[in-house]
Amino acid sequence: MTALDIAKLKRDFPILERKVNGKRLVYLDSASSAQKPLAVLNAMDECHRNYYANIHRGVYTIAEEATAAFEAARRKVAQFVNAPRAEEIIFTRNATEAINLVAYSWARANLRAGDAIVLSHMEHHSNVVPWQMLAAERGVELRWIPLAPDFRLDLSNLDALLDGARLLAISAMSNVLGTINDIRPLADAAHAHGALVLVDACQYVPHVATDVQQWDADFIAFSSHKLLGPTGIGALWSRLELLEAMPPFLGGGEMIRDVRLDGFTTNDVPWKFEAGTPAIVEAVGFGAAVDYLSALGMDAVRAHEVSLTGYALEALRDRFGESLTIYGPTGVDRRGGAVSFLFDGIHAHDVSQVLDEDAVCVRAGHHCAKPLMRQLGVPATTRASFYLYNDEADVDALVEALAKAQKFFAV
């Protein structure tokens, strides 16, 4: 494993040359969305300028090239999460749509009133609301794995929760706490109770080498835009047999084998789930993003983030002590680079506003995890999150800007 050369890496990201208020951009909001390297921008530009056409149905050269690039992207994304087969990757708009696809197709075909779905208190709204909609419509019961005081899942009651459950839908890494959940034992427990396992891997896949087979998951959802790729595309992975048995979700072009006035038959997986013209150029960008990450090596990416997160946790504690409360595990193993905190009685929005004066970009709010915020008993936190293009100087800039905020709002 070669350590990342961050100074060199930063030059791959054109936006990092942007100045805000005359200061260099310190982008610490990658958990919300990641910046894009030139490799991704160039791959998309190349497609637009040289071989753009609608895919799958064109006989001519540029349509063939576009189709090949689109399907090559699917292979790359499949390999990136060690999916056994490329067909098992369904391109969706984002992780949210991937989860909704499972809720509309698999769950509505298989779940009945009285069946239970197990979620956790640290889920993102995108892994909560689709299930609440289903629960309201079908009388399915939602059960919640609670949070332990160390910001990890409290698994003491897991077996009771899984009893009678048909699905465990769980995040691999919390976007608020940074907590990494150990999926394999959870999947084993769920399977022992006959439940399937959906992993919201939206925060995990961009930051840690992912192996869906090692997890033994049944569905995983993630987004391109959080792993250096473009917006407008995400992925659902599932096992081929499952996907083949599932009814279609959206109807339209591409997803059919035949259409007659009295009905239609569906195309093969994955196209069965990709109705209409897909995000063609975005798929190409998605593929370029996983290529970029693979070339660096996900182990090196993870190692850098572990070290930088450790540096940040220490720097924040050293400088601000009791004034700053961190919501999330304190050890850097089994946690990601999202660091949420409350700061000295200053509201998260106000912190973020003051930080912006120094071009330090952090997120403030409920981070689409209101059930979790209620468990934590806070309305909003400030969150700094790190990616491969961040370095210790960025953390130092955060600390200095926070010190200014403290001064500004001092009573």
Binding site: H347, H349, D350, V354, G365, H366, P379, A380, F409, V411
Partner: protein, 165 residues
């Protein structure tokens, strides 16, 4: 940090640090309404007690949590409407929202032609301390923080009117 002083005027920070009218009122006679900003999680809880005889705001209490702007705006709103006749309160809502409106709804065009409406709404209404919130319009994302309390108040008035109808 030049721009920040525009946003965080002294009077705003004062209301934020020492909010007026915090607390609860018995429901009924008071009417309780909760307002949320779904984008940031700010919450305003408003207890509005309107005297049906005189159509005056007999009392008002506020709770909730949020950033300095939303909480200061809520506090300033409560101070501004307490003891005032409903007609004046409605006028105040319109005037305040006019102050913010050029920018509030980012969907509504570039605001061209809104100038005269704005002037009309503001004419004759004394906003007093509330004018300190005008600096917020330079920070579009924060406008919703400032208007949350007022939208909640509007809702409380509508619901009270309905209940009486």
């Amino acid at each position: 940090m030049a721009g920040l002083e525009d946003l965080y005027r002294e009077i705003i920070l004062d209301h934020y640090r020492s909010p007026r009218n915090r607390g609860e009122l018995p429901v009924p006679p008071a009417h309780k309404v909760e307002g949320f900003n779904p984008l940031c999680g700010d919450e305003v809880v408003l207890y509005l007690d309107v005297d049906p005889e005189s159509d005056m705001v007999r009392d008002v209490k506020i709770a909730g949590q949020g950033c300095s702007i939303s909480q200061a705006s809520t506090s300033m709103m409560s101070a501004a409407v307490k003891g005032r006749p409903l007609a004046e309160v409605r006028q105040l809502i319109r005037a305040f929202k006019a102050l913010m409106s050029i920018h509030e709804s980012k969907l509504e065009g570039d605001g061209e032609g809104d100038g005269s409406d704005l002037a009309a709404e503001l004419a004759g209404v004394r906003l007093g301390d509330l004018e300190a919130l005008q600096g917020v319009v330079k920070f579009p994302v924060r406008i919703k923080c400032a208007t949350l309390a007022w939208n909640t108040l509007q809702q409380a008035l509508d619901e009270t009117a309905q209940a009486q109808a």
